[in-house]
Symmetry: D2
Subunit: 374 residues, 4 copies
């Protein structure tokens, strides 16, 4: 693995490295950790990389690695930069035969996203997008249950992603906050792109339903911030279900409370990211809690849990599932075998959906017409 | 107290009787429990009332009671009939000098509601509307905290009221379901009037903010049902806060999960009706749980709790608080004293707000324009 | 009903009055609320009783009421005094033909308890002991499930009752604390009698198993207090199950956290008084939550719930179930009919068990021998 | 790192490998994964180790690695075998200059434990015992708070570790169950050694108090099992606190519910392993929840968390903290620097305490005298 971005002070780079390391399937072998060559080198040294594999730019890394013998060079590129720096390295990596795993949202424009989609289709390479919440075992269980009809035809879906960390003007002091609230780096969506797309992706993944139209009320609550930090969105799904998607970065006091509830004709499911090892399944008259690695679960759930029930698995393990499944797909590609659908992960198509969602929500927020199609 | 409606098979009549009895301040002295005189009599007997005070109609009760000596007749009328039968007895009671406590929504039309408002203003009598959820101690605490600025200027408000009991065609077999899904008895709102108004009232009570405009997506999910059984509504408040109000009677597996979250500039509050003795107060970095009768609370909270912390108080005690406070106001009226604002309760104005909300949501659901003003 | 004790400043008197009032089956008709006649009168007036039925002592009340015509006098006596004042009125009431409902622990000596047991047997009158926690619907459900074999042969039982309110020397300022920590009023057990007996009674009720022997470590943590404020007790049951009973009044920060867990060969049950509408039923591989009035429950559970699922019922409703069931038994006695076992309540035998438990725990705490038989 | 034990079918070997890998500080470089050389080799290959570093026995590994140049050989040995196979490799490793990290309980006899203690003292090498639950951030927070007097002088401590997985005769089919219930492999304690020692260690770590005496009721509930599968133990601490330690492997339906509650004169703390990112701090009148990486925490807590609040960290991250801190200590040893006390971990002394606890509990279970000193 060669990493683009992820110098020591960044949050998400460390998460990707842990996620890649957990299962012993992936080795960090190279990196262009920063556009500042010195910073890139020092990050590399801290990570026990030889200087020779630490590069000053992603272009340098991709070209240099390609020049190495096939059994020595990296197999894939991991892109963990701010949003506006996804497209360039992703494109260059794909064009040079490297598989790609990339943070989300995939790009800062739908056009870029569609170009990557086309490029992946053309090259046949493996592309993963780290909508990491889909990696949780009980998310897999929820998806499998809905797919098997456990709660009947879907009617109502409520997904929410409240955070509070941007309740004040943190962008003046926090690098994490600064790029997320800067349109040049983040794209036209603020919270919408950063966490709204997670909510959208999780919903479409679990339910197998696509948002067909929406009605968005997006707000900038913190004065002087150029991008939305809160959004309330009515959603209608292609299959007739209806619902709500709301997110916030100014929900003061909320940590990272991504939650989804899905109600069908015969029952309902509820999953909370902050208590990820429980999946609540209710019907009128029953209430049961399904637990990671406890009792009968679908293979998709058990294939993504590592330790016995009651030993809580968390965010990093779910993230690691994306990496591990991506690694399996890369290996299958190398061996000319088909991917095992049990070990799925978000793909370039999810990235395109995310950009469509961002665009539709932004358009809806600007219009006085109720419904905007995705 | 003379009750209108509430024969034995009705659910809410029994709740009102318990709520009235708990504090030993109110005596059930008369009743017109059913339009069927036999049923009314048998209900009265079961309740240990003398036949002479059990009537075949509310008109009969009001006129007969008025004819009794002042120290023997009822002081007020409690109306627990389906929605379409609120206006008639409320009007007649007020016109004949009886105070009124009435179930919600107040009427089936805004015009009726405004007439009652005018009548209450003219007569000076006490009118309470049993939006009972405002009777919980921790709801009082939340209101007091917000009023005192504990979470700063309000930004986001999420209120929801999911139930699942009408996920199937229960109206064919359940009298409770039948009248609630019948426009002639329930009014033009189905779930909207039955529980949406509770959510609206609770929100405006706790936050002291009024909904200024809304955008509603109302649905009838169960085939053949004439009234909405689900609603997703974007709301904007007069003071600049924004939010979501959603309710459902088809959220399969949900019991009665009324929940409100309010986020201000400096913190957030969360209250769940199904765990009513906890009020969660968070800020970025802190998380505390305020508990009924535990530690320092506002007088409004302690004045509505009866027993030491850890002895759970529930729905009936909250409902009883409405009755007790109404009784206090009636007594104050009788004694020519002012009402003590500590012992508040929903009034005829709340009833008018409820009808405005119903009308606006129904209008919004029919239009392609995004925002409808209340 | 004629009440002994329960003047306005007492906590438990008000609870008994509410519990008696809720279901409209019992009327407070007389009272000897205080040994101070003035205080008794003023309490009576606040409760809307005529002065003629408010007495200066329980002896006066019992004799005066007995002298009334049968259709005018009270049917039963409710005793809500401190522990040392249970025996006297209970005995006198029974000897004069009045049924008795009495707070717990029943007496301050086993000898007194056994005398009451004998007297109840001899008179055939109805005697209820307000071990109120057995009145919760989900406690009834747990008992019914265990009795039906839902978790198999019992192995391990853990019951605990932690409170924190006596962590400091509250007895100097609180009347509630003062009598509970005074051996002359409370008996030889402090926390042991006050809450330890609740834990013991709840356990024996739910499991149908009797404690056969125990090993107690009782402590007085607050300096100068003459009675135990904390206890840790190993227990062994007659049927081979083993377990732990612990209680505390110095568990700083705990409200009233009575909790029981029972494990059998094929599953486990857990019930918490502070979340009383849930009963957790687990097996290795399953986890379900049974909820008051939700889905299929045993008749014993549904017979003790009043309102639909999701409308929380609490402490007062559970307490009221004891009163209502007692009233049913009194009526059955008056009508010469057998009691309906569905409407059960703790009896004089439970009172005797409680005293045996207190005696055994106190003896165990004094000896260096491991096990003390009950 | 060279691993002893941990072939692919073992549970705990994989946990150790993940824990070692997460922070990128430790490389698995060698292993004697099984006493079956073929199984050892195949495990090594799956883990991408060269055959040359995969050994058929720990003796072979230690001698062969010692013969390698210092910059190529392993720095330490990780021992993940069943209990009876800890002492041999630990001793040989220490005698040959390798640091040791070892699973718990440390040995199967107190004598062995004391020998290792002496050997560690003599060699000055680093020895860590994987009482992994002490690695959780909120456990560190609890320890720091108690040490700083946040809840005052300790009075009552309740620790419990219920599991249900051995409710049936799993040892006939599960290798994990088989060795744990075999005295030859597990030592004289069954559940006592496997999980009772975790409870003991966690308690002494958090509270800084040592168990001085105990009174144990240990049971074998599953017929034919030679070792205890349940234990109820009264404990008294050297500093005057009292409490309860109970554990079970037959608590049917329990996953891995290690929980500790500590009450002091001025407050109480509660931590549950299955919800590890919350630490509840209550006093009489307040209730707050401290959360991993949220708000003001002690440095010991923040130093053991990796990601922002709301991204749940779990069992593997806590386990990894033990490995990382051990690695820091090894590096400090190599560099001749003192250990940083912030990065602590359980040591050989904890191992000796564990064996003393096991011995005392077993002795207590056999005697009719109430208290047995540790």
């Amino acid at each position: 693995m060669g990493m683009v971005g992820g110098s020591l002070e960044a949050f998400i780079g460390g998460v990707h490295r842990i996620a890649a390391a957990i299962d012993g399937q992936i080795e960090l072998a190279a990196g262009a950790f920063s556009s500042n060559p010195e910073k890139s080198k020092s990050t590399g040294r801290t990570l026990y990389l030889p200087d020779s594999r630490v590069y000053g730019s992603y272009e340098e890394m991709i070209h240099a690695e390609k020049a190495l013998p096939a059994d020595q060079r990296i197999d894939f590129v991991s892109i963990v930069t701010p949003n506006h720096l996804h497209y360039g390295p992703a494109r260059l990596a794909l064009e040079n035969g490297f598989h790609v795993i990339c943070d989300k949202p995939m790009t800062i424009s739908l056009k870029q996203a569609e170009e990557l989609e086309e490029l992946v289709a053309r090259t046949g390479l493996v592309f993963a997008l780290t909508h990491n919440y889909t990696g949780y075992p009980m998310v897999k269980q929820a998806k499998a249950m809905i797919s098997a009809g456990a709660i009947g035809k879907l009617r109502k879906i409520i997904v929410e992603y409240p955070q509070g960390w941007l309740a004040g003007r943190l962008e003046d002091t926090s690098k994490q906050a600064a790029w997320r609230t800067d349109p040049a780096q983040s794209g036209a969506g603020g919270g919408l792109g950063d966490i709204g797309t997670h909510a959208e992706n999780l919903t479409e993944y679990i339910t197998g339903s696509q948002i067909a139209e929406l009605c968005a009320d997006l707000t900038i609550f913190v004065e002087g911030r150029p991008l939305d930090d809160d959004g309330n969105i009515l959603v209608r799904f292609a299959n007739g279900a209806k619902g709500i998607l709301h997110y916030s970065q100014i929900a003061n006091g909320e940590e990272n409370s991504l939650t989804i509830r899905v109600y069908g004709e015969t029952g309902g499911l509820e999953w909370k990211q902050m208590e990820p090892n429980s999946l609540i399944h209710k019907t009128n008259g029953t209430y049961r809690v399904l637990r990671t690695n406890w009792g009968e679960l679908y293979p998709a759930a058990t294939a993504h849990a590592r330790i016995p029930a009651g030993h809580p698995e968390g965010f990093l393990e779910a993230f690691a599932n994306i990496y591990r499944n991506f690694a399996y797909a890369v290996r299958a590609h190398q061996e000319g075998k088909p991917r095992d659908p049990l070990y799925d992960f978000p793909t370039v198509q999810d990235g395109v959906r995310g950009l469509r969602f961002i665009n539709a929500a932004l358009a809806s927020a600007e219009t006085e017409t109720k419904w905007t199609r995705l």
